[in-house]
């Protein structure tokens, strides 16, 4: 007998730089494009989400404190890792959403990282300003990371849709807790493997797979999450989610054009400094 046993992958969560099962031990079945069983995915609980926010908070300061140039190198490294695993990513996207457009989706996702890698050390020049004021002051405005961003990834575009929200948030120096597409979570975990082998510090990106109606309300009401990207929030729950997010005055971020510097500043705060001019 020379038949090899199949080596099937157990898809897990990506929290604090580790691939872990849900603390609840739960998983759920995911269907492929034709409706048949594809694979199981970990079903994150609110405690997994809490742990993810703790992991993100721990590293948010040091990630934001890296030089913008250095962050750009890290983002470019993600593109390198994805390029190296291109075939695998195409397979994952095809298995989840069908083969049509899969390779284009992967290519655009890789290019998206390259695009935002270039923006890290330019965003401040382009969107910052030296403001004219009536007084002996230098008045400077510059963007700063908000802190921890909760992202609810879109349901379709399992890879590209997610990357188009994640990359600008990282470009702005934030740490991210992301609820993946519930219907197609597996490409996100394949992406996590690329992030893990690039130089993104553990805890900067945390990917949770599971039921959005379980995760999103907790993410929205969490006091230590500073902004919420609602790209993947179902329209019928949007009002409740935004009301919960108001409890600690979270910024609500809605997706704009697919690529652009203002997608980055959406995840940043403008700080203005008044500095006295010399006598």
């Amino acid at each position: 007998m020379d038949t090899r046993l199949e080596v099937n992958k157990t898809y897990k969560l990506y929290v604090g730089g580790r691939f872990s099962r849900s603390e609840s031990g739960r998983s759920y079945a995911v269907s492929g494009p034709t409706g048949g069983f594809l694979a199981n995915a970990a079903r994150a609980s609110r405690k997994d989400l809490r742990d993810a926010v703790v992991a993100a908070r721990k590293v948010a300061g040091s990630w934001a404190g890296l030089s913008a140039y250095n962050r750009g190198q890290v983002l470019y490294r993600v593109a390198e890792m994805m390029e190296a695993r291109r075939d695998e990513l195409i397979d994952e996207v095809s298995a989840a959403e069908g083969g049509e457009g899969a390779s284009q989706q992967v290519e655009e996702a890789v290019d998206c990282w390259v695009y935002y890698a270039g923006w890290t050390d330019k965003i401040s020049q382009v969107t910052g300003a030296l403001n004219p004021v009536a007084g002996p002051y230098f008045n400077l405005t510059a963007p700063e990371p908000i802190g921890i961003i909760g992202i609810v990834a879109p349901e379709t575009g399992s890879l590209l849709g997610l990357v188009e929200r994640l990359a600008p948030a990282l470009c702005g120096g934030n740490a991210v807790v992301l609820a993946c597409s519930q219907a197609h979570p597996h490409p996100a975990i394949a992406l996590a493997e690329c992030l893990h082998t690039s130089d993104v510090p553990a805890g900067v990106v945390n990917l949770l797979t599971g039921f959005k109606d379980e995760l999103v309300p907790v993410l929205a009401s969490h006091g230590d999450v500073d902004a919420l990207d609602v790209s993947g929030v179902a329209p019928d729950t949007a009002a409740d989610v935004e009301a919960a997010a108001a409890s600690n005055v979270k910024r609500i971020v809605r997706p704009g054009p697919r690529l652009g510097p203002y997608e980055v500043t959406a995840f940043m705060e403008m700080k203005t400094v008044w500095h006295p001019k010399g006598a």
Partner: protein, 305 residues
Amino acid sequence: MTASTNDVEVVHRIGGSVDEVGAEARAAMLASRSLKAEAKLWGLDLAVRCCDLTTLEGADSPASVRQLASKAMRPAPLDHSIPHVAALCIYPRLVPAAVEALKGSAVAVASVATAFPSGQSALELRVAEIERAHAEGASEIDSVISRGALLAGDDTGVYEEVVAAKKACGDAHLKVILETGELGSYDRVRRASLIAMAAGADFIKTSTGKIAPAATLPVALVMAEAIRDFADFSGRRVGLKVAGGIRSAKDALRYLVLVHETLGTEWLTPERFRIGASSLLNDLLMQMDKQRSKTYSDSDRYTVA
């Protein structure tokens, strides 16, 4: 032959040894218990009341102690339902500042003493340090034992130094720190616990917090069992203090479960159980808020210190 309970002989009469694998398995089993809803809230409240808020840094000053004292008296300034902690634990030099800051409150002043954390100075100096701290107003003394003497097999020497410490304490409570991280085996932890209790300790305490490993669940279990055996033998109920490395509310609740299961409800009070910690308090407050509001909070909402 009848041995009085104040005799090092008691240690050998109670005797016993520890099943290492069994102790660790039981501690792990107790750690897996989960508390829900009201029980959890009650446990968190108890953990606050049992907390010895501690600062033992070279940089401590009267001002930083005053700041911590206000935290001890009112952990959450805007929430009057939060109780005060049991004691403020500090270095001897800062006792006057702490006594002054805590005047009129029910928070006790606990001073470490006896050449904390190593205990490596002459016995008369260590005794003098206790007397001075007590004279300046400390009502609880956290003393350390000579681990070197215990490891060398000098049980009587350790017994006698605890007796001397207890005498120097007067009416203050004596907590005896075993520094279990340096003892090397659970059997020695049990022996040290029994020696300290026989010599008159009011509390036995796991660690100084300056050595890793500090408090662990199996060590606390071994000490709690020694306390139980000593109470059965002598009728005297000695308290347990766990200290070092306890930073999360979850850890604190695990110790409460362990104490309850080993010693019973009589020990679930600040008179017989303490947790020595600094950063734990804010996590307890955060988890209490979580239980009440059902949403996760952030650390910016709690006072520093």
